[in-house]
């Protein structure tokens, strides 16, 4: 056991810090759930890419730095420490890219990864359908393979929903039923779809906060060139499960994010201590938040150090999801309790360096729901990790 950084890791941290200090926008960008904000965030991805910071864990050949997971954690710490913008291409860089690297053809990798890194392609998710939420195997959206003289393609018909980033994204990845009449997780394929194709209609879904973070996508005889199949036809479920593993697992929510919130919460409490202490349980919740953010960080470093040494990811995927989503709720609920009547104001200017608590509070509400609801995660833990019998 050795819980220290190497000299090279320390140098890496310095380099990240110094670059971010020079480039992080002084003014916060608009929300990427607005047209203007989306463009600003896309430009920020390009800026990151210009410094080779947009995908540090990727190989250098496709725009990354070949960082290991410990360096990635360091990068994330500096990123959140600097108050840098949220990543509009998280779907692509953290979720799709690992799947592409594992299942993609060489041509696919060379085509997609650099464009993802540069922000030229922003990716949306296409998992859920109206009848397939927690129960993803209930997918019905059809992709029929047609071998035409001009080239093979998939003819897509159906609907996706809760598609994150889809309102302004360029591409979407997801599961489609390529074998007519197949059921459950059989006969599904993982397909990459340009959202500019004819026959695609995108209907933005307005969220709690009034903005449109996700959308419905309607496919009406959409022709997707067959080379955009990822992995083998019919093996989409396995390909997707790898993605879902990443999603729920290590890289969806880096600990730095929660440490930044915990630190902001401590500062909020300290700045309003006199009123907050009228409810003494608030102080306890603040300290507990900090402890849990630390625990999440330690746990992630623990897993990362095991993976770096060639170990494999275990049940952390499901326990992580529950832990960070409940922590995020706790922190934001505590902040709202401290803020009292100021909490409801959408136009409250945050004090210097203050967190956008109301925005964060609303977003935290989604944590226990997306990326596999916490109920589903508890089932998985009970059945796969504890070995309890299925219902």
């Amino acid at each position: 056991m050795k819980l220290t950084y190497t000299a090279s890791q320390q140098a890496f941290r310095k380099e990240v810090r110094s670059w971010l200090a020079r480039h992080v926008p002084k003014q916060p960008l608009k929300s990427f759930d607005t047209a203007e904000g989306f463009a600003e965030h896309r430009a920020w991805e390009a800026k990151l890419h210009s410094g080779r910071w947009s995908a540090v864990t990727w190989p250098e050949s496709v725009g990354g730095r070949g960082c290991d997971l410990i360096e990635w954690l360091i990068f994330e710490e500096e990123y959140w420490r600097a108050g840098a913008p949220l990543r509009v291409n998280q779907n692509g860089v953290f979720l799709l890219a690992p799947t592409l690297m594992e299942f993609g053809t060489e041509a696919q990798k060379q085509h997609f990864l650099p464009r993802m890194a540069s922000g030229e392609h922003i990716w949306a998710q296409g998992w859920s359908e109206p009848g397939a939420g927690s129960d993803m195997a209930a997918i019905r959206c059809a992709a029929e393979r047609v071998d035409a003289p001009s080239g093979s393609y998939y003819l897509i018909n159906g609907q996706k929903t809760w598609s994150t980033r889809a309102v302004w994204a360029d591409w979407c990845f997801g599961l489609f039923r390529t074998e007519a009449g197949s059921t459950r997780h059989h006969g599904l394929s993982f397909v990459l779809v340009p959202l500019t194709l004819p026959g695609i209609t995108i209907r933005p879904i307005r969220q709690l906060n009034g903005l449109t973070g996700f959308a419905e996508i309607f496919f009406d005889d959409v022709k997707v060139p067959a080379e955009h199949l990822l992995g083998e036809e019919g093996s989409g479920w396995n390909v997707a499960m790898a993605t879902a593993g990443f999603e729920r697992g290590l890289m969806l929510r880096s600990p730095a994010r929660f440490q930044a919130t915990a630190k902001a919460l401590v500062e909020l409490y300290r700045s309003r201590r006199a009123s907050a202490d009228r409810d003494p349980s608030i102080r306890d919740a603040v300290v507990s938040s900090w402890m849990q953010a630390e625990a999440y960080t330690l746990s992630t470093y623990n897993t990362a150090s095991r993976l770096v040494q060639g170990g494999s990811i275990g049940p952390e995927a499901s326990t992580n999801k529950i832990f960070w989503s409940e922590l995020d709720l706790l922190m934001h609920e505590t902040a709202m309790r401290i803020l009292g009547q100021d909490g409801e104001l959408m136009d409250e200017p945050p004090a210097a360096g203050e967190h956008g608590w109301l925005d964060g509070f609303l977003f935290a509400q989604a944590g226990p729901i997306y990326a596999g609801s916490n109920e589903i995660q508890r089932n998985i833990i009970a059945e796969r990790m504890l070995g309890l019998p299925r219902a």
């Binding site: 859920s128 709690l208 608030i282 709202m336 309790r337 009292g340 009547q341 909490g343 109920e375």
Partner: protein
């Protein structure tokens, strides 16, 4: 020992319930949310037609002369239907302040009949709130200044609008100047009146929060019974059932606390403030839990603007922190429960403490 409301009060509640079910469907709320003023003259007129603006105005001033017990039932319905209107501020809080002004105040004659008839909106600026709700459309603003009560017309104040997450709340920073001309009540008489109004607002919000909790529970039940996953309604899964059952338990045990608080107000009991704080905490807790659990049961759908749930959640979050946030009310409870010589324990629930009776007399004399 009788927890039942009068038959008349129940009949009033039932008729308001039926009325709002028809007149205040979620689609209408959405429309009003999106208007610039956030208020509907048509809705207010209908509420007045139902007699709600006249509820606690004395009969001598054209009202029905009813009180806190009727209001608590009405407020619950206002919460259940998330009514976007300043009815409570106008017809309950302002009406209370005005009718209990020391004798001879001209403001009573000027305003109470117009409140009763539904002609005017009145905003109340109490120091526990940083902002004043519904100031923009108010014909009259009753404002606190060092315990005095000041009455100002809309054109005598300057407003800056603030934006709440709950679009049915319209909040304003109010700038104004206190003067002898605007003062309608001295600090000596005003202190107890402001306290009485704060207690009523606390119970009113508690009732609205409980109504909101029940509505969010109902929305969660409906969704869980209809939505299918894995081939079954999600409401048949224990994980969903138990979350909603917990909400039901919270609501069941908040209700009598709320009713007792309203009774204590009506009876001007010395512990009315304590009971009011307890009611707001219990009902607020039920509402916050209902919001969380109903959202969880709704899944992604609950996170959308389209689903009705969001309107009720936002209102619950906002009201829970209004007229004294949880910390404020908890501190008041703690001071009472942990004080030297307080009577707690079996047999003390309905006891009326002696020493505090002086404070009650002060209120009574102020309102005589």
């Amino acid at each position: 020992m009788d927890f039942d409301f009068s038959a008349d009060a129940i009949a009033l509640r039932d008729s308001i319930h039926r009325f709002l079910m028809v007149e205040a469907a979620p689609e209408m709320l959405r429309e009003i949310w999106e208007t610039a003023s956030g208020r509907s003259a048509a809705l207010r007129a209908k509420l007045a037609d139902q007699g709600l603006t006249a509820l606690s105005v004395p009969e001598s001033h054209g009202g029905m002369g009813l009180g806190d017990l009727e209001w608590v039932l009405v407020q619950y319905e206002l919460g259940y239907y998330a009514i976007p209107d300043s009815l409570s501020d106008t017809a309950y809080l302002a009406a209370h302040l005005l009718q209990h002004l020391p004798n001879g105040a001209a403001a009573k004659q000027d305003w109470l009949p117009r409140i009763a008839s539904g002609q005017v909106r009145v905003a109340v600026g109490h120091p526990v709130n940083r902002l004043v709700a519904d100031a923009e459309l108010a014909d009259l603003l009753l404002l606190w200044h060092a315990d005095e009560i000041h009455a100002l017309r809309r054109d005598q104040v300057q407003l800056a609008a603030r934006t709440s997450i709950d679009a049915s709340r319209r909040l304003f920073e109010v700038r104004w100047t206190a003067s002898d001309a605007t003062r309608i009540c001295s600090a000596q008489a005003g202190a107890a009146l402001w306290q009485a109004v704060h207690d009523r607002a606390t119970v009113a919000l508690a009732a609205q929060l409980l109504g909101l909790a029940q509505r969010m529970l109902d929305l969660g039940i409906d969704y869980a019974a209809q939505r299918k996953q894995f081939g079954k309604p999600i409401g048949s899964f224990q994980a969903v059932k138990h979350q909603l059952a917990d909400v039901a338990v919270k609501i069941e045990f908040a209700r009598p606390v709320l009713h007792r608080a309203a009774y204590a107000l009506a009876e001007q009991q010395p512990l009315a403030s304590i009971h009011a704080s307890q009611a707001k905490l219990a009902c607020g807790e039920a509402a916050l839990l209902a919001a969380r659990k109903s959202l969880q049961v709704h899944g992604a759908m609950g996170y959308t603007w389209e689903a009705d749930l969001q309107m009720f959640m936002k209102r619950a979050w906002a009201l829970d922190a209004s007229w004294g946030d949880r910390s404020f009310h908890k501190a008041r409870l703690a001071e009472h429960v942990l004080a030297d010589g307080v009577r707690l324990g079996p047999g003390e629930t309905f006891a009326i403490p002696e020493p505090a009776a002086r404070a009650t007399r002060a209120v009574r004399s102020a309102t005589a």
